[in-house]
Symmetry: C2
């Protein structure tokens, strides 16, 4: 019997598609490097169907690719080798809210936006946030331990997950940590699964913690003369104000956003910008903010400043930052997503810039990122006269040299996008052989037959 016939026979109720358009759509993520070639797409309705599916995959040796909103940037959800893609999109419900625990129980296919909205309806917040909120799923954010624009105040996804339902690669269902705040009872497998990119099991449900609503804030855009000034502004602002976000982008990044249709709020271009959101609950906090901004101008830390005076202006300033990715998408950029300690950023940036300028003088490099988290996004734009394959080869060589700089600075090759396929060549250099042996041992323990997302993260 054909593999899929066996699957239909084993789980009669399972929705399965082999439509060409579905294979193309569900076989790729926001990377565009691999040609989608899945065997089929399946759409389980509940944890029991996922479990039956994994048991079938084990029995038949069929590789599975767990799939959320496929907004990933590292190829973690790509299916290019005859895998069965397990789309969680039908499992998108908010199952329960508990007002005492302040938690939501949600299915893994719920979008980040729907979780944020459900929290808001209860007068609370789910503070993990980033631009793809409308498309990405909570399961996908768990798979990569997603960061985003509020990490500086609220931490990564990891901090907000109180429980996970996991169908392990063995086909067993585990309810990890079950919503507890304190639990010192053996190794915390929940934290092992968060950030594992679908290689240990398929997350089908999560219990997420909710926080108080974000306090009233002011949004400010600082124009800055240099990257060193960005760091100086960060230390100045953090020391005096309650930071909700501190995002950096280069003058080149703003240039692309403006070319894409946005309005430059300043009269002239500047080398760097910082989008800053700070608590502003009362007059005292607003006065303090203005004093800090005044000091930044007086000392030459900032060259110019815009304070958003209305919700529309807040949205417009945030759009400058959030549309960078879209504004350069047509140039099929090669993306790096590195992290170092915040204190190591200036030295790392200087070395990385020098390296790219010397080795790749024709590359246009767009810098932006989350300064307060030590996270820089480095997007290399393809010169029009360079073929895509040759471009990727050049970029991988550049990343190779960047990885050495990172290793010297105790950095990470992926801050928040994950390793997937894109960063796999450099994982071992970052983690070292002793850690790699443990990663392989752990994967073997959860997925002895290697059916879950094979070829992703590490071999």
């Amino acid at each position: 019997m054909h593999t899929l016939d066996k699957l239909r026979h084993t789980i009669p109720a399972l929705r399965i598609s082999t439509e060409q358009s579905d294979l193309a759509h569900y076989g790729r993520d926001w990377t565009r490097r691999w040609t989608p070639a899945p065997l089929a797409i399946v759409f389980p309705a509940d944890t029991a169907e996922v479990q039956a599916l994994v048991q079938w995959a084990r029995a038949t040796g069929t590789p599975l690719v767990p799939s959320g909103g496929r907004t990933g940037l590292s190829g973690g959800a790509v299916a290019a080798n005859g895998e069965v893609v397990v789309s969680l999109e039908r499992m998108n419900r908010i199952l329960a809210f508990d007002p005492v625990d302040r938690t939501l129980t949600v299915q893994a296919g719920a979008t980040l936006q729907s979780v944020q909205d459900a929290a808001g309806k209860q007068g609370l917040s789910y503070p993990v946030d980033f631009a793809s909120r409308g498309s990405c799923t909570i399961g996908g954010t768990i798979a990569t331990n997603a960061g985003g624009i509020r990490v500086i105040r609220h931490g990564n996804t990891r901090e907000w997950i109180a429980g996970l339902t996991l169908v392990a690669g063995t086909g067993e269902v585990m309810r990890l940590n079950r919503g507890l705040i304190k639990n010192s009872s053996g190794y915390d497998l929940r934290h092992l699964v968060i950030g594992s990119e679908g290689t240990l099991g398929i997350v089908t449900e999560a219990i997420v913690r909710l926080g108080a609503p974000l306090p009233a804030s002011k949004v400010v855009l600082l124009a800055l003369p240099s990257f060193d000034a960005v760091m100086a502004a960060f230390v100045e602002v953090r020391g005096a104000l309650g930071l909700q976000a501190f995002e950096f982008f280069s003058g080149d990044a703003l240039r692309h956003v403006v070319a894409h249709g946005a309005q430059d709020p300043f009269a002239e271009m500047h080398p760097a910008y910082a989008l800053v959101e700070v608590d502003s609950i009362d007059d005292a906090e607003e006065t303090e903010m203005l004093a800090v901004l005044e000091r930044c101008l007086e000392r030459g830390v900032a060259s110019d400043i815009v304070v958003a005076g209305s919700d529309a202006q807040v949205a417009a300033l945030w759009r400058l930052r959030e549309s960078i990715t879209e504004s350069i998408a047509a140039r099929t950029p090669y993306k790096n997503d590195i992290a170092v300690r915040v204190s190591a950023l200036p030295a790392f940036l200087a070395e990385a810039e020098a390296l790219l300028a010397a080795g790749y003088p024709t590359f246009e490099v767009i810098w932006f990122g989350h300064i307060g988290d030590g996270n820089l996004h480095i997007s290399i734009l393809r010169p029009e006269d360079l073929a895509p394959d040759a471009f990727v080869a050049h970029c991988e060589h550049a990343t190779d040299m960047l990885a050495d700089v990172l290793a010297r600075h105790d950095g990470s090759i992926s801050a928040e996008h994950g390793i997937g396929l894109v960063k796999k060549p450099w994982l071992a250099r970052m983690r070292g052989e002793a850690e790699m042996v443990r990663l392989r041992g752990i994967r073997e323990t959860f997925d002895p037959d290697g059916i879950l997302n094979p070829g992703k993260v590490f071999d």
Copy 2:
């Protein structure tokens, strides 16, 4: 050659003691159930000596027991079977402070108090806190993912550890996460080690994150008519005020503390008390606090209230809570340290009380704990006419029934003390066989020869 002669020969500089008083002192923790019987106590001076020691232990098959301040309550640091105890007490230095990263790099043997003090000197705070702060070590708090009195605001130890240096059971040294805020690059082994009670490796150094100083606060003691009133007060206070701590203890607990020399701040006894610490930065917050307390009295949620008016009164109120353990120590209590979701506390408590009252009517049971974290400490005092061994046997039988109630409520047999030897019989019932297989696989991956803390947590 005798085992220790080989060790002296292999690591000539290593400080070793076989003094009877040292064997007795370093062979036990705050549990008093096991007779210490280590082979020797060693005091390494640095990570290199720990590494050499683990390599020697592997080569000779010698079991090691990592040892911090030995304030543990679950027997995790007990050495009763000829083990070599590895005391980290000489490795107690604060190595570095980084003002941009807001981190301290510390050796694992530094006391919690010394880390808090070092943070305070920099105008920052290390907010993990509990009564044994002067004796427990940062390494010990990592081993159990220690909680304490500030979890409700600041989370567990886990949230504050940005990096760990680990000597794994294989003898390899790993620098996990290296101080990064964001790092989505393969499984997070740091979080696996936190809470592993010395069974995966020996933590020799940590990079701890620091926070802003705690805001100015008011401390209030509420006298309450019932446990249900404690829950009602919790929801009321949390909804309106910034909570820094919300600690519960029973009337019986206060009776012991008063018998131990403390002053009862109320004119009469009450069934329950809540020690509450809330933000009180300005007049508006103080007014709001008084309004909340007024509402609690009017609605009968609280029977009486004391607001501390001076630092001395703050200390006196906190002493009521923090000296419970000491006040009952002479009765060699059998301790349970359970957690359920906060919403499940009333049902769990009612069932647990009924179970203990029916099965063990002669037992005196002292209840206290961290309501906002779903964490209750249940201390059973030994009746004077019951021999210690018989008492423990009775308590273990009671715990066995309690474990069934816990399992029904998705609870945990240890919230913050760890499993060690004391709670080992119930771990599998809480975690289930599928998780236990993964725990064993992970242990095997880090410590293939089983030389690290053998017999602790699980077999």
